[in-house]
Subunit: 498 residues, 4 copies
């Protein structure tokens, strides 16, 4: 059986005695085992990163940037292999895996703007013959801790920019589907990142805690659930680190009476059920303004769900693959039972789905709840499965209140044709990423990703311009040169020679 190890100082290594099984979500068959790093192994990775830092910091940014150009090429060249790993370990349909990878590549493309992004501000004559300027210098060793749902993309949000800015890096991918991240890191080294500059450790809480408390680690980027994000943030900051920790989400779509409902329904299908809803930007709640709107929308969604095709991720004709693990499947079905118990109307029940040839897989059909109300657990908690909840509001203001009152503030969207309604919504809603007729308002790679409220702990958003600020610290220099004997002297010292 294949053992997935760590990438430390350019070497693939396996330590210790603790392993975790990697199973295919579509079959629950064992595919590999991953070594779980103990403290000592993580510290080796940190040491490798710390040792590599001084030399790497001094490499001119344009040379670090060029490695990112090569990385983009390698990612495109090896896309099929990466996607196969994603589908094998995560379960998502290959097309969806390709979409994920493409988003990750776009983050690498943005890093290729590095010399532009690193520019400091220069001021001449802040006083008489005094100049001042700022530089954005690297932090040192940075670490990333990434979730199972985007095993390729989320690491690519982090380390390409961190490394390009002159930092060295230790990545701890999800131990459920670590292969893509490990393989991509190897491509990074192939592209020219020196050994030690980029390291990968696989592991569990022991690895995380080691990274959180090791004083050599200057910064931590995390993406995962809110309770863990809060733990990462408070533990990491208490240990003197810069931390950005992205947590959970409950993203609402507000559908106005004037919306193009056919268009909205189609958009919502992908936003709610794509990748089985295992996305922090998935739409999991629709708030329809007016019963007429809600009724019509439910009808349209029912019709579309009926045509949804669920099955093995290797078959690109499928719309949805399996959930990531059996325990996660059980957690999601638990939420469905809870919703029924709480009195929500289960319009479509995807439970009990059997996929022919993959009867042991973690499959669940699309579920649709109507008449969900604030206070229900299926509204207050993040389900992270193919479950869409319809809520009904009488007014736009009431609908916005539901969204603003929710603990999470990651993404939201509005469907309308009306300029004023859209502008009012975007301006006032207490959510970090807002779509206007765009169901998944994930910012493009040259803007930045981040939610408000309990969806983000930290000041700076992920990727895009904010990530440059996160992975660098400002240094401000003020310079004056004393009156020069040389220059003044030079004016008078040679007259006798003429």
């Amino acid at each position: 059986m294949q053992t997935i190890g760590h990438l430390i100082n350019g070497e693939l290594v396996t330590d210790g005695e603790r392993f975790q099984e990697i199973v295919n979500p579509s079959t629950n068959e064992l595919e590999a085992q991953v070594s779980l790093a103990d403290r000592e192994t993580v510290e080796k990775a940190v040491a490798a990163a710390a040792d590599a830092y001084p030399a790497w910091r001094s490499v001119p940014p344009i040379k670090r940037m060029r490695i990112m150009f090569r990385l983009k090429d390698l990612l495109e060249e090896h896309a099929d292999k990466i996607c196969a790993l994603l589908t094998r370990e995560h379960g998502k349909v290959l097309n969806d895996a390709m979409g994920e990878l493409q988003r990750g590549i776009e983050n690498v493309e943005y890093v290729c703007a590095l010399p532009e992004l690193l520019k400091g501000e220069h001021s001449r004559d802040v006083g008489p013959a005094i100049d001042s300027w700022s530089e954005f210098q690297p932090l040192g060793v940075c670490a990333g801790i990434t979730p199972f749902n985007f095993p390729a993309m989320v690491p690519l949000w982090m380390w390409p920019m961190a490394v390009a800015c002159g930092n060295t890096f230790v990545l701890k991918p999800s131990e459920r589907d670590p292969s893509a991240a490990l393989y991509i890191a190897q491509l990074g080294l192939e592209a020219g990142i020196p050994p030690g500059v980029l390291n990968v450790v696989n592991g569990d809480k022991e690895a995380v805690d080691t990274l959180l408390t090791d004083r050599r680690v200057q910064a931590i980027s995390f993406v995962g659930s809110t309770p863990v994000a809060e733990y990462i943030y408070t533990t990491g900051t208490a240990s003197g680190k810069r931390v950005q920790a992205f947590g959970g989400a409950k993203n609402h779509a507000l559908v106005m009476p004037d919306a193009d409902l056919d268009n909205a329904a189609s958009a919502l299908m992908g936003a709610a059920y794509g990748s089985c809803g295992e996305r922090c930007m998935a739409i999991s709640v629709v708030v329809a303004v007016g019963d007429a709107t809600a009724d019509a929308l439910v009808e349209k969604l029912k019709a579309q769900i009926a045509g949804l095709k669920v099955g093995d991720g290797r078959d690109n004709t499928n719309d949805m693959g399996p959930l990531v693990t059996r325990p996660h499947l059980e957690k999601v079905t638990g939420y469905i039972a809870k919703g029924v118990e709480e009195g929500a109307e289960l319009v479509i029940d995807g439970r009990g789905l059997k996929v022919k040839g993959f009867e042991s897989g973690n499959y669940l059909g699309a579920c649709l709840f109507d008449k969900v109300k604030p206070g229900m657990v299926i509204h207050s908690e993040e389900i992270f499965g193919p479950v869409l909840c319809i809520m009904r509001a009488d007014t736009m203001q009431e609908a916005m209140q539901i969204i603003d009152d929710h603990e999470y503030g990651n993404g939201t969207c509005i469907f309308t044709r009306d300029g004023e309604a859209a502008r009012y919504f975007a301006d006032n809603i207490k959510i970090g990423m807002v779509g206007i007729n765009v169901p998944l308002p994930v910012p493009v790679a040259y803007h930045s990703f981040g939610g408000w409220k309990h969806s983000l702990f930290g000041d700076l958003h992920a990727y895009g311009p904010d990530s440059v600020r996160f992975y660098t610290k400002r240094k401000t220099i003020t310079q004056r040169w004393p009156a020069s004997d040389l220059r003044e002297g030079a004016q008078f010292s040679f007259p006798s020679n003429r």
Copy 2:
């Protein structure tokens, strides 16, 4: 006796039963008493700020900006009164108070660039007919906790920008010298800030802890000592807030053998002894490269110290006033005794100074230590008094190592004529603010202030461009409009008229 109260919702109020005396450092005579807010009073201030927020947030930035133009005028108009308050309660010489106020006014001037600073990034066609842009929206209620040493300037680092960005604010000034901050806040209201938008509470740890834990407070800016800064940071972040906490400093000047020593000595006098060394950017250590450099510098400093004039702050012919309080004076003299005990050479001993007519004042003459070594307490800790330590290094590299090894990383400077040495120093030294022949490299108001290592907890620096980011959160909007019946329809609906 005058009682200094709180400014809440536009009203001056005094609560409760706890008061602290305000004494004149030059005489130790009682000048006033300040009310110490209890939890309830602080919560009233927070409530006032929370209530004022929704309306204030919607005022167009240019109107908020214009209040800052008026504030600048009022600060200039009332400068004498403010400086008198500073000198009465803090002790600094009037000229020095005027310098402090001027720096604060410069921060207000920078805020007058608000509409430029708040600009978001707009991208057309992030996809076909899809646009995306970012906005920097206010946070809500923000709070500032400020130190005794710059009672006017540090509050002006904070609330003008916070308020101009659309936030509302609660300021807790130092309880030792609160009058200037309170008076300036009143000028803010006179300039047009609505009641409730800017509030001041005086108090001690109870007030601080209330601000740190009240969930309505979204962000905290703090300036003070490192242990308190760390407490503020960990407590505030654990309570879900955005925090920037500026702590202690030990700022080293590196003097190279080629430096213009007359110029360096003059510069160091002001940097070390100005405001009695009670500045977080004061130079408290000189590292001279080579004994010859050190010997010459010590001679020059001795000569200049002999001419230093210490006395009451109202007399502008004085160079130094008293220390802020009697306990602080005792703490500083304790450090001097400790330095002698540790074996440093006390070249000039300022203890025992009596200022005629002000024999009860907290006076201490300038002190100069030579041959200070790493490991001595007078090197490892911040003294915050008129005590300059000379250290000697054989090489520039050794001198830089001393600086890099120190816990603090606020400011530093180098004296040299050599372009290469200066560039190497500025590039490599692990300090946030670097001067090249500039002894106090406090960034001008349009750059940002912040140290590295234990001098700053948080990602973003104070004032200047970083403060805009600190007092706002990013919102990213992605917009697509569905194909318009209106536009397309309009193309075909009137053909019979043609």
Copy 3:
């Protein structure tokens, strides 16, 4: 009789023998005479500016900026006097004059952001230990030539930014209404601009041609009609200068069938008839999509025009004052006759209006043409009077084609509620300034003003960020320091001392 002279090197002077009368448009009575500068006088002003340049260039930007803060205060303090001058010489209603001045003050406010705006870009390590940065340095002597219609505002677009950037300046205001510009320049000197840094010459073509060809003048900003703008541009650039020349306009409002017509009609009244239409951003054409839209709009406009009050500008109850001069009045009425002759339908005829007590004034009532067609002179040429033309299009596309085909490309706007239509219009229309339900889309002072096609000759727009680029030139420095004997030597030169 008052003689209006020139402001050269801080002195008010009157030269030569040529004068022009200044008459009050409301009465056609003589108010003053203005001296018309000959070549020699203009050259004196240029010489004064050239002499003042080297010292002014070296004043730190923050000091230059502070003068602008004072200028803003002085403009606000003397607003009534300035507006009285505007009304006396131009004729516009006092309220309208105040609006003009306010816009000018906003440009001064923007200049107060100078240190932020002048920041260059700094790049560390463009190669090993090589740094590079850019500075935006002043040009030297700049000149501005400004039109009669905004005698206060347009000069304030130009010289405050030019002067603040470190240039010196010669302003040639319109000889029809020069007093406000001259007075404001005097306030500039009172605010602290040194003599010679800002000069004003009054004059006609001789003055213009002298400025255009004097080699000491580095840059020219012009606002006026298109034929003159083109002459200024080609003459000035042929003489090696940087030139931006803003010309004529014919601004169309596109009204969609879904627009709020009451709102649109009210907005159009001000946009078409405010300041008698003597504005380069006035709406002079409405293109209504669909006859129903056009018919309804014409009815609403007729009703509102009936209530329009025309009279002396000193009476703020009036909506419109007189036209600027008798010849201009005759030119405008000529266009009206031409429109009738061409077959347009003159729905409202404002000719023949007599204002009681001001029977000799240049008065003309609001005029409304319907069924104007492309090709008519009243459509192809700029009338610059209170004449609004309605055109009718069957489709939005046809309406946009009319706008795109026009020679001018200054401003335009669309009235609609529909997000998609607005976005399509703003994206595709070939016009530099676009309003969405905003009839006069003059950019605010922190954006920049500029049209496309024959409305602007030059690359950079007026005021806002572009004006900083226009009034400065880029200098790029690349710096490497040779390996330092000092630093390296210092490492080894003192070992015997240890």
Copy 4:
């Protein structure tokens, strides 16, 4: 014999009857002939570009950007072929050709930051519920006219950015060495640029004049000599175009007495003689401060010139190849004779050099003049050959005066160790690109290239940030949505349902 044609609408075509011979400068043997486009052919290219524009403008920037990533890969893949073409037609040594190409590739890399570079400025609430933002939209058809000395690099300064910004392009390369530019354009199409978006026409003045006057061409970028640059600028602007025209240069190195002369001499060798001095950034004059400095420098240069190896460009052991053409060789030797006649001291005479096996080539050895004085033709004019002039000044101020008084203002550099002298020089010298111990201060690709005085006609510099502004025009949108019946109505329309 090979005929080099035009690339129009994706097709290689050859028109007409006029041809020019392409000869190898190393042998003067005929290599090919190039078709010289007549007006009709150029107009076809412009028509192709005009037709391709509307569709290309609407391609999202990120897709246009990706083509540039592919272009970089193709340029690297085919570097050997491109360099062989450069050496064959221009004569430069292969290594030098590779250096040129590398610089061109860096410009393409910068274009890969496109989405970041195109961001406009967004302002929320410029008034109540009014937003405003700017967009940088493409111009339409742009054209580039490029010189013989960098046949690959200068076109890559222009069209990749122009095309990426959404423009279409017509390139007219130098007719002396057109093959590399044509081949690279073909690689552009291979990378994904659609036919018609990028076109190449070869030609002479007829082609240039057609481009200058065709109204469909919106912008012209030119690099060449100053008289032609001025012609291009005045003709193009008179035809309503945006023009940037880069002209001649005479770049001075100022050598201070404290400079590291070994280092300076080595640096000057490459800067003066590299590519035979046929570079607009070549150092052609050294101004030494003090006779001692000059004497020492001349000795060091003489020694190094003695070791210079001149020969065929295909042999990478050579330091210099032949001059580009026989007439150019004669022009350069004419300058040498003129310098002798004017009284300058010809220390090294490179005339009469014969390269074995290449006796018919346009070879000229390195020449060194000493004691050149202002007013000599070899100082006032650009020689564009391997001729270095030493001038002597008594003081730094005198040396700077010589530089400032020269007609050209492209580049300059100073050699010194002194921070103050360097800062004074960089701040005050009237030159656009300044090196401090950097002999060829060509800005890196992420800064911008441009001289002052007669070295540049136009406002905006080449490549880097300025090129984005040159190839786009600003559009400013101001948006307000009328109070929405939808939103307000929605609040009250369903009450009976509750």
